[in-house]
């Protein structure tokens, strides 16, 4: 039996990304589009990049917020939808969606699956406002019910608890968090559309930035922005038939939730996250390991989450992540360039689908001055809600 998402032996059994697209990313005065409008624009651009007619799409993975399958179907003018699903893992949803899309095309049920995401993260409801009464996700319900009565309502307040514990238990220095912020900021200088391009940062700047919720400073926090991004997934057989110039193979994709799933502070080992179980699955399925990766695009809602995910991915032992990210290792030219577009911290907050787009750009050799020379394999992750995790191992065919 062939693995669930990894490359099988025949082209019909291998899933790949055949198109990617992004909207413009912006802050003030806002995108001028609705959330749904951004999602649709990103979807159409990814479909155009794939070189197909939008009506060939017969699979939809809807984003976890802001658009239903039906709205996407109707607005894109799809003739039929043979496979659809909505993934609820917060920021881990976009990369988890790659797993679902890969399974759909490998089963033969779907030919082309569109995976769009988008939001007015700046001009609309801000990500930090998690305390809305409707609380559409489990994460928001738990935050509303148990943390908000004590003044913790925003994601940085929840996750800073994990960062603090790690710093205390493993001696992770604040300069380690700063190293993540700096790497992303330096990479943003190389990306033509990064929102923090032309705003350089030094470690002194980082350490002088004001506390938001200690141990998180302002520069530990991702930027709020409006925008969207999308990709189209098909089998390698289909890609070859339509003449896709550079299909990027999904060598493996996996998702995971730590137990208990709905509360992050009551796990037997508090550093267990979704990636803890998902990463070994994906590495085994891909037949590749951390040592094979030319780059890593890591969901960076906040700096510490990058450190924690690198540990759980197996790039270093748990507790060693702080030392791992220091000294330039995660910068271009280092052993493992991370977030070569600038990430959520310095490129834009397209819910991590911009990380997928960047991974594809790198593997196509189209990353310009930020190109990791000879990159043929890379990993991209998602992080969401109560540490839900997802990863995709991508490679050239």
């Amino acid at each position: 039996m062939s693995p669930a998402t990894g490359a099988g032996t025949s082209p019909g059994d291998i899933a790949c990304i055949v198109g990617v697209g992004e909207t413009d990313h912006c802050r003030a005065p806002g995108s001028g589009l609705s959330n749904l409008g951004l999602i649709l624009q990103a979807a159409r651009r990814a479909v155009a990049d794939a070189g197909i007619d939008v009506r060939q799409v017969n699979g939809v993975v809807a984003p976890y917020l802001n658009a239903s399958v039906e709205e996407i179907e109707d607005n894109l003018g799809l003739r039929r939808v043979d496979y659809s699903v909505q993934i609820n893992m917060g920021g881990a949803s976009p990369v988890a969606s790659l797993m679902h899309a890969a399974m759909a095309v490998r089963s033969g049920r779907a030919k082309f699956v569109v995976v769009p995401i988008g939001w007015n993260g700046y001009s609309g409801v801000r990500a930090r406002e998690t305390s809305d009464r409707s609380a559409p996700t489990t994460f928001r319900k738990v935050v509303r019910d148990y943390y908000l009565p004590y003044g913790t309502g925003a994601p940085p307040q929840v996750y800073a608890q994990m960062a603090r514990r790690h710093m205390q238990v493993f001696g992770t220095p604040e300069e380690a968090l700063g190293s993540v912020a700096l790497a992303c900021r330096r990479h943003a200088q190389l990306h033509p559309h990064a929102l923090m391009r032309d705003r350089t940062m030094t470690m002194e700047d980082y350490l002088a930035s004001p506390w938001i919720v200690a141990p998180y400073r302002r520069f530990d926090c991702c930027i709020d922005s409006d925008g969207g991004a999308a990709c189209v997934v098909a089998s390698l057989e289909t890609a070859r038939r339509i003449g896709t110039p550079q299909p990027i193979v999904i060598a493996a994709a996996a998702e995971g939730r730590a137990a208990p799933g709905s509360e992050i502070f009551n796990r037997p080992d508090v550093f267990d996250i979704g990636l803890t179980a998902a990463a070994p699955l994906a590495w085994e399925e891909a037949g590749l390991g951390p040592e094979d990766m030319a780059f890593a695009q890591i969901y960076d809602c906040f700096t510490f989450e990058v450190i924690q995910q690198l540990e759980e991915l197996g790039f270093c032992a748990r507790g060693e992540g702080g030392r791992f990210v220091m000294g330039g290792r995660i910068e271009l030219g280092g052993a493992l360039p991370v977030n070569t577009h600038g990430g959520l911290l310095s490129h834009a907050h397209a819910l991590g689908m911009n990380h997928v787009v960047e991974a594809v750009r790198q593997l196509r050799g189209a990353a310009g001055v930020a190109q990791v020379e000879g990159a043929s394999t890379g990993v991209v992750t998602g992080w969401g809600d109560m540490g839900d995790g997802s990863l995709a191992v991508l490679r050239r065919p």
């Binding site: 003044g151 506390w211 938001i212």
Partner: protein
């Protein structure tokens, strides 16, 4: 000892947890089937499957498992308290609860610091909080 009341549905469990605070008590869910303490509360025990769960008084003693210091007004109702310390407290019974830490200089909080429950008015409601011992 049980409360004599069936556990509420999932949507009302938080309400039930905080209703004890109104009475000046910190209670945690405990399974009558296997004796395990749990937080946050659930509808059935994930260990033994029992739905015979009750609210039992906690000692109110614990240690600081982690903490944050909020400096930026992320939650309007707490703006007057800035900067304030939110802690994950490891209760003597095992479960970790989320609560405000009062009576402490934010710079002197430390890992495993022993704390004791107290009750304070927060944003219009009486809530269990913790203070250094």
């Amino acid at each position: 000892m049980t409360t004599g009341q069936a556990m509420p549905g999932a949507d009302n469990l938080a309400e039930a947890y905080f209703s004890w605070h109104d009475q000046g008590e910190l209670r945690l869910q405990r399974c009558s089937g296997c004796g395990r303490w749990r937080h946050p509360p659930l509808v059935t025990c994930p260990e033994c499957g029992s739905s015979d769960l009750s609210w039992q008084p906690a000692s109110g003693l614990g240690t600081v498992f982690s903490w944050t210091v909020t400096h930026y007004p992320l939650v309007q109702a707490f703006s007057e308290l800035l900067p304030y310390v939110d802690a994950v407290v490891a209760c003597e019974e095992g479960p970790r609860v989320f609560a405000l830490l009062l009576g402490v200089d934010p710079d002197t909080v430390s890992l495993d610091m022993p704390v004791r429950v107290d009750f304070a008015d927060l944003a219009g409601s009486r809530r269990a909080v913790f203070r250094p011992m």
